[in-house]
């Protein structure tokens, strides 16, 4: 598809630099985009892709550099300007309001109707027309909170198109999608291109770059390390430019035979969410010592509740939790942790760490009142300090000292603090959710290796991840979670991500399933 596009240049960003209080997020980056072209911005997390696009979208003001649209320089000081100039952006974390309907979300900010009163009829009509025009079917009256992620993304795209966007920015569009949804997205992208929309796709996935974009800009540490025509560059080539060294893109773990009874079992778990619906609906699984069981699934199919159920943070309607043959339901979170069940939570900042507290305090969070970290009521500050010192060394956490608040640490180091805390309690069962979300390749490698080390220590590990490759590369078994149930079990080497993805969407889109 990607023939070199010779259309006129619609967007030209020249020598953009963006200085934040403590980091230089972009340094003299120049990119341009031609009409009907699709380019991707490739780079790992923190390389400055999103910053650059936020500059373009008017969320940030560039420290220096200028932006030309259709040849003439423009001052984009707010998203309003960006929208007026025909720019549209689909953010990685969707900018949708759960409690409003699709229509309301799409029209928000440029509602039809005069004298300040919204004409909902007209709005609904326009939305329907739009979704027909671009073949993006959505129910205009549905509430966002009841919609699948893929559909929410459609709404986001419609939002941009509704504002007559000629240039569409997609920030990590596939991050939360199943392979099937990814395919559909790519189809949409193609359709949009045909209708004359130019697109910039922010991603850190090499496949995607290959799959859809004509040209690729590779960013590293805020600098542009290369501009290539996609068909002329290999994945390894891109990886090099992206990370600056040869990357091992696959973790190699030696095979194991798993004998003996499971160390951890869930049987027929039912959990209700706040809306009173069954978030977990008769879920059963088991984990054997030294085994990594990966939970594949689209976000919102019960991952959160599963983690909470295991850690005893939500009420069980029904079901058994067995750990070494012992029933756990009655135990509190604390008691479960004391039984050497450790947990690396999905949202490290909200559920894993107390950002304003310092490293040493976070290191003992959850067992701060046990010897040797406390004598009776008193904290043994010295012991805590020494322990933290040791951990910081062992897990090489980059910090000025153990009394530095964790909010000052990079994402990778924050995650390392959690790993240090959880792994150092020599767990027998380990729940790991989204361990590498938003981390750069270096950190990802390190964390994967740590998880595998746990595996070698014969710890039973349950890995919940939205990143399908991660599940594939780490797991010994893959369980597909769909609408609160385990719908299928796979052995990684004996399946394909397509097949897994097919079940992740409930196996409904059967025809597209057969395509594989």
């Amino acid at each position: 598809m990607s023939s070199v596009n010779e259309g006129r240049i619609v967007l030209d960003m020249q020598h953009i630099s963006k200085q934040f209080p403590n980091v230089l997020a972009n340094e003299d980056v120049s990119i341009h985009l031609r009409e009907g072209e699709i380019i991707s911005l490739l780079g790992e997390n923190g390389a400055g892709k999103s910053t650059l696009m936020n500059v373009l979208y008017g969320l940030y003001r560039p420290t220096s550099g200028k932006i030309l649209l259709n040849g003439k320089e423009v001052e984009i000081s707010s998203p309003k300007d960006a929208i007026r100039n025909g720019l549209g952006m689909v953010h990685q974390h969707f900018m949708l309001i759960d409690t409003l309907t699709v229509t309301e979300n799409i029209i928000l900010g440029s509602e039809p109707g005069k004298s300040g009163v919204i004409d909902y009829k007209a709005a609904r009509r326009e939305v329907l027309e739009l979704s027909k025009k671009y073949h993006l079917e959505v129910d205009p009256d549905a509430l966002i909170e009841n919609m699948a992620v893929g559909l929410q993304q459609r709404v986001e795209i419609l939002k941009a198109l509704y504002r007559k966007a000629k240039i569409l920015i997609l920030d990590e569009p596939t991050a939360v999608l199943t392979p099937h949804e990814v395919e559909q997205l790519f189809e949409v992208v193609e359709k949009l291109r045909e209708s004359g929309v130019s697109m910039i796709i922010i991603t850190h996935k090499l496949e995607e770059v290959k799959a859809i974009s004509d040209r690729v800009y590779i960013l590293r540490r805020g600098k542009c390390t290369g501009e290539r025509v996609t068909k002329d560059i290999t994945r390894e080539g891109m990886a090099n430019l992206m990370v600056g060294r040869e990357v091992v893109l696959t973790v190699h773990k030696e095979k194991k035979e798993f004998s003996g009874d499971p160390i951890f079992e869930l049987s027929d778990i039912v959990v209700k969410n706040e809306k009173g619906l069954n978030a977990l609906d008769g879920l059963s699984l088991n984990v054997r010592p030294g085994e990594i069981v990966g939970i594949a699934g689209v976000d919102g199919n019960g991952q959160t509740e599963l983690a909470e159920a295991i850690m005893g943070m939500c009420k069980l309607e029904n079901g058994k939790i067995l750990f070494k043959g012992e029933r756990l339901e009655k135990y509190s979170t604390r008691q479960r942790r004391n039984k050497h069940i450790s947990n690396v939570p999905a949202d490290r900042q909200q559920f894993g760490l107390i950002l304003p507290m310092d490293i040493s305090e976070n290191m003992v969070l959850g067992f701060h009142d046990e010897k040797p970290y406390a004598h009776g009521f008193n904290l043994a500050l010295n012991n805590i300090h020494d322990y933290a010192e040791r951990m910081v060394k062992d897990y090489d956490i980059r910090a000025t000292g153990v009394d530095e608040p964790v909010e000052n640490l990079s994402g990778g180091n924050q995650q390392k603090v959690i790993l240090a805390r959880e792994f150092s309690r020599n767990p027998e069962f380990l729940l790991v959710a989204q361990p590498t979300r938003g981390l750069d390749v270096g950190a990802i490698e390190y964390i994967h290796s740590q998880i595998l080390k746990m595996r070698d220590n014969n710890v039973g590990i349950l890995l919940i991840s939205l990143e399908l490759e991660e599940v594939f590369s780490l797991s010994d078994r893959i369980l597909v979670l769909y609408e609160g149930k385990i719908v299928k079990e796979f052995i990684p080497d004996e399946t394909t991500d397509k097949e897994v993805g097919f079940y992740m969407t409930g196996g409904k889109k059967s025809e597209s399933g057969e395509k594989e």
Binding site: R336, Q350, F351, L353, I354, L355, E361, L365, G366
Partner: protein, 417 residues
């Protein structure tokens, strides 16, 4: 390194002179201030000997620096107040002279008396804030403490020390119990404590007037406006007994308050309970995720806040009034909030902010008497101080503007910043 052997010597020296100095100062014997300074000097001398001169110096600087912003805020507020006074036709110079002279020199003993209950309510609010709770109804717990103290003060007939300790403990506990329902509702239904404690404060106020009628005079005659006085044996000790020249009204409540402040600070930063409280206050979810029992801790935190406020009532009754009045609207609860906010919820800071508030009140009275300036100007100044100190972002913002402005200037003049 035998310098370390001297550690106890230095520290005892510093401690003694510090405590004595404070006691003297609070009983408005001004030479006390010198002892306090001496204590500080001794401490830093030792630090200087122990560590290097540089680190000691750095410490001094950091201390001064931490005091800079509050100082600036206060001064700025005073300037604004001055402007207001000028605009409304009062003489700020005379007024402020009177304010400071009255507050910090002339009627210092009154400032201390004012500060005592504020110190307790301030601690109460600050502690609650640390747990992410807003104990806006400290006033109500104050009333409960006062009632208990009055009742026990009248009925108890035990050796002084024993009874006073008992009164404090029981008063505190019952005041804590008064927060039981709000705490319960907070944990069980999530009813916001701002509303519940506020309403309970109103309720306590009205209940107190029933109590007073019950506790005084003979039921036959015209009902009393105050309760009967409590037994002399239950009076809180006065400074006068230590320093004969001290003001005869100042009682040791302030020292108890400071003790409490130290205790609270210890609890917060040195104990597992305090650790959990802070963890919850800063991130409920993470605390819960790591197995800390959020509900229980919030519950205890609110009760403990009530306990502290209760002490305010107790000291006021057995220390100063020796009986309980009807129809007094001193608003210790509200001022407690201000004091806590001003101290950024730091228990040690509360000591100073409480004293500052007390001094401003006492000074305001002196000012309005001698210069006939309405002392509501003091209230306004207080409010402005609060804003300037609590909204730290204002300074960042000003600083930012200033920096850019200067930056432009310097670039114009081709200089470098």
């Amino acid at each position: 390194m035998e310098i370390t052997k001297l550690k106890p010597v230095f520290y005892t020296l510093a401690a003694i002179s510090g405590v004595v100095g404070m006691a003297m100062y609070f009983s408005s014997i001004f030479s006390g201030i010198f002892l306090i300074i001496a204590a500080i000097v001794i401490y830093y001398i030792y630090r200087g000997l122990l560590t290097s001169y540089k680190t000691a110096k750095a410490e001094v600087y950091s201390v001064l620096k931490s005091m800079l912003i509050p100082l600036v805020g206060i001064i700025a507020a005073i300037l604004i107040g001055a402007i207001i006074m000028v605009l409304t036709g009062y003489n700020p110079v005379r007024a402020y002279k009177a304010l400071f002279y009255g507050g910090f020199v002339k009627n210092w003993s009154i400032s201390v008396l004012n500060a005592t209950p504020l110190l307790f309510t301030g601690l109460s609010v600050a502690f609650a804030f640390k747990a992410g709770l807003f104990n806006i109804g400290a006033e109500g717990q104050y009333y409960v403490g006062a009632m208990v103290a009055t009742f026990l003060g009248i009925t108890f007939n035990l050796p002084p020390v024993v009874s006073i300790i008992l009164i404090f403990i029981i008063g505190g506990l019952l005041a804590a119990a008064y927060n039981f329902i709000p705490a319960l509702l907070k944990v069980k239904t999530g009813a916001h404590e701002v509303i519940t404690t506020m309403m309970f404060a109103h309720i306590a106020k009205y209940l107190s007037s029933i109590f007073i009628r019950g506790m005084g005079g003979d039921s036959a005659g015209s009902h009393p406006y105050v309760t009967d006085p409590i037994r002399d044996s239950n009076f809180l000790m006065k400074f006068k007994t230590i320093f004969p020249s001290a003001n005869y009204r100042v009682h040791i409540g302030i020292l108890i308050g400071i003790g409490m402040a130290l205790l609270v600070s210890y609890i917060l930063y040195r104990t597992t309970f305090g650790y959990e409280i802070r963890a919850i206050g800063q991130n409920k979810d993470a605390a819960r995720g790591q197995g800390i029992n959020v509900g229980k801790n919030i519950f205890i935190a609110l009760l403990f806040a009530g306990f502290l406020s209760g002490f305010a009532g107790v000291t006021q009754v057995i220390g100063l009034d020796h009986k309980m009045f009807e129809n007094l609207n001193a608003g210790y609860g509200w001022n407690g909030v201000s004091v806590a906010l001003l101290a950024a919820n730091n228990p040690i800071g509360v000591i100073f902010t409480a004293l500052l508030w007390g001094a401003l009140d006492a000074g305001g009275q002196y000012m309005s008497r001698t210069t006939q300036t309405p002392n509501s100007i003091v209230e306004i100044i207080k409010g402005i101080i609060l804003f300037l100190l609590v909204a730290k972002y204002i300074w960042a913002w000003l600083g930012h503007r200033l920096k850019r402005w200067l930056g432009k200037r310097l670039q114009k003049n081709g200089g470098v910043q």
